[in-house]
Amino acid sequence: PHLRTFRDEFQTCKVEGAWPLIDNRFLSVQVTNVPVVLGSSATATSKITVIFKSYLGCSDQKVYQATTDDLPLAFQDGTRSGGESGSLSVSERGGSGVGRQVRIQARYIGTSIIIRRVGSYLTFAIRMPEDTLDFSEDGGGLQLCLHGCPRNELIKEHTVSRQSQRPRLQGANTEPGPLRPPHQAYTVERATAKCRETLQVEDVYFQSCVFDLLTTGDPEFSMAAYGALEDLKALPPSKLKQNPPRTPPNPSR
């Protein structure tokens, strides 16, 4: 799958099997990725498990799990919220968005999560306060969201090429090779045109869309990048909103 890390790095990784996205004192997120096309190293996410660790005075431990067959609107214990004054809750996210979406809000740790089902795979997006992440932690703890993909799992880092108008994947094979499925349904031109229907700016999300169509030949995949961009807009990296400081009325005025 394509990964945007907390440090705003963009990568495409293999990471087949179960991998931790996040694992800190507040929550753990693990994904299971499966091959998309026989013979290709491209994988996509078929299961996401989120464990909210107990936070005294606010919430007990809660587990949420989604698979490509089931995107529940509740935690595994059947509840839809937890803790004091609903500081942890699961809700359906409506709107014109792509595929069915579930939103999980953990207010006590300032964290929001969106999980979507796009076609037969899942996408994940999270926004967390930087001071709940342990950036200083060494690469020992495997956390794809924090450290990106392990080198040997990396398919390629995405950079927008300056020379050509057409998006290129750095180091991508231009001839038919392992990245192209046996039944190639898309040429670069057709994939580019298809992705341009939903993504007008040729950025890394656009590149990811083209990559997905070239490697899977599955038109549903063109919506995964679009959905991920929608989630980025819904959960933007940003400064904490400051309420305007209340200035005491000036007695002289």
């Binding site: 306060p129 930087e130 990811s208």
Partner: protein
Amino acid sequence: CRIQRCNSNYVASTSPASGLQEDASVDVDYCIALRAYALCVKRQARSCRGDLVYHSAVFPIKELFFKHNCSSDGPTSFAKAPSTPRPAASELCNYENRVLMSGSAAQQKKYAHCGLFGD
């Protein structure tokens, strides 16, 4: 002299059961509890003069401010009602409220984004 009430409120609001995270990176709630305690003890000065419990309570407060890096000015949400055991759960269980209550530190707080999609 009601120094014992100050002590019990302070213990209640800073015990693990109160929801304060010992290792939380944002221990603004602890500083609120400590400021409320200092205010409560200060108010007992006249009526507790000569009371050993009172003087043993006054002594470590300065040390605690220094140890926990708490500023002596700032919200003491217990101040209005010393009997209030701890900040309301809705405040404690809302990261943004906690951070905004911490005043100066809020400016630096930022959110980070991670996404996983496609193939």
